[in-house]
């Protein structure tokens, strides 16, 4: 689903970055690296790369992976209550895709030298961040539609340029992810379409979901460019191709006409088309809410983390059994 946390640096990272600025990393090697990046050559796992590039990628890719894993929860909430068998099968497939995306991304991060165990430990301890969007509750079935349409739509906006990221393993993982996201977004829009063509009650449900998910979806693009600490460096390294605000604008521009098609109202009084710029103008995001949710104080942060920890603990016996079985098989083969 998505990556926003890329702008969230841990205190450890900050210390390391401070050290780097006076580091002994060979200036010639740095220049050669930058030249490769600018020539649009892909950087592969075993190639030399600056420490800060490696750390930025580890942070971004692991946060992205964690987001996919936590992102299964809001939708998982409706698996047993989907309105039809067809919807249930589709939702199950989508949630399974999110797990798959998490795995592609963890694998990509591992190529940079960080272990899976470390990343999982960082998520469970609360040290690692994940996208703020998953800390909002899914109160009605329409929320499943809104998530597919808006949240996955925002994710696609973010992820398509990541397919051209300078780091090969991340770019390749994103190609797979993007192919699959497109089904996610369409199934969400279809749910919204059915509801908005349904009874007054169903239409109200769709409107309510849009009201609640619109602003959190815009927040998925991360802080505004003026406050985004890592954007410039990430752009220079060609990890990022567009700034947060550029992507947010693109998302608004393509999504507003879709809302109009659905006959739903985007909950923003300042929203209007600007003929001169050929873009929509929209209101200011509530950045206080954004920072609160990132800091762990959103509506569902504690619930999401508690559930993930419980799932990890309750799966311990399965992992142990698999290891015991593998050991037994190996011993038998040796005998």
């Amino acid at each position: 689903m998505y990556t926003q946390g890329l702008d969230q640096q841990s205190s450890e990272d900050k210390k390391k970055s401070a050290r780097d600025s006076g580091s002994s990393e060979d200036a010639a090697a740095l220049a050669a690296f930058q030249k490769r990046v600018e020539a649009e050559e892909k950087i592969e796992a075993k190639d030399w790369m600056p420490d800060a590039y490696r750390r930025t990628l580890v942070r971004q890719i692991s946060q992205h992976a964690h987001s996919e894993i936590i992102g299964m929860q809001p939708e998982g909430n409706w698996l047993t209550r989907a309105p039809s068998l067809k919807r249930k099968a589709i939702l199950l497939a989508k949630v399974q895709d999110e797990a798959g995306h998490g795995l592609y991304l963890y694998s990509a991060a591992e190529t940079l030298g960080v272990s899976r165990e470390q990343m999982v430990a960082d998520l469970l301890s609360g040290k690692a961040k994940y996208s703020s969007i998953f800390n909002y509750p899914t109160l009605t079935w329409a929320d499943i539609g809104a998530i597919g349409w808006l949240v996955d739509g925002a994710a696609i906006m973010n992820q398509v340029p990541l397919c051209r990221c300078s780091y090969g393993p991340y770019a390749r993982a994103m190609v797979r992810v993007c192919k699959e996201e497109s089904f996610h977004q369409r199934q969400g829009f279809e749910i919204m379409l059915e509801l908005s063509r349904g009874s007054e009650q169903q239409k109200a449900m769709a409107q309510d979901a849009l009201d609640r998910w619109w602003w959190p979806s815009l927040m998925m693009f991360g802080p505004s460019d003026t406050d985004s600490r890592h954007s410039a460096q990430s752009m220079a390294w060609k990890i990022k191709r567009f700034s947060n605000d550029e992507l947010r604008q693109k998302f608004v521009d393509v999504t507003v006409p879709q809302a109009q098609f659905l006959g739903l109202r985007v909950p923003d009084d300042k929203l209007r088309w600007n003929d001169a710029t050929e873009h929509y103008e929209f209101g200011e995001i509530d950045w206080q809410e954004f920072h609160d949710v990132l800091a762990g104080n959103g509506p569902c942060n504690r619930e999401r983390m508690a559930k993930r920890r419980r799932a990890h603990d309750e799966g311990a016996w399965v992992r142990e059994a698999a290891e015991a079985y593998a050991l037994k098989q190996a011993e038998r083969q040796a005998a």
Binding site: Q96, S107, S115, E117, A316, R319, A322, E323, Y325, A326
Partner: protein, 95 residues
């Protein structure tokens, strides 16, 4: 995702008969059979393949990118291995 760290496997998929297997990604598994099962669930949920290979990553012998220049140097000055090296006069056909 184990406490002990299951080995890493690389996954290769043959997308259809007639094509060679191609690297798709990697995964962790406790044993070979689990690696194959997880590879199916992780990398071929949409019928992306007709054949899967998994191989433990630590069994792959790889060239060192830092040595690329020296390692691949022998091929560099042998442009006569390419057909474009040879000059064929106009009028000669089927060559």
């Amino acid at each position: 995702m184990s406490a002990k760290g299951w080995p890493l496997y690389e996954v290769f998929i043959r997308t259809r008969a007639g094509l060679s297997h191609r690297h798709a990604g990697s995964l962790h598994a406790a044993d070979d059979q689990m690696a194959l099962d997880h590879a199916r669930d992780t990398y071929t949920r949409r019928m992306e393949g007709v054949s899967l290979w998994v191989v433990r990553s630590d069994r792959i012998i790889a060239s060192d990118p830092a040595e690329n220049a020296a390692f691949f140097e022998p091929a560099e000055d042998k442009i006569y291995r390419h057909p474009t090296f040879y000059e064929i006069p106009d009028g000669v056909e089927n060559l």
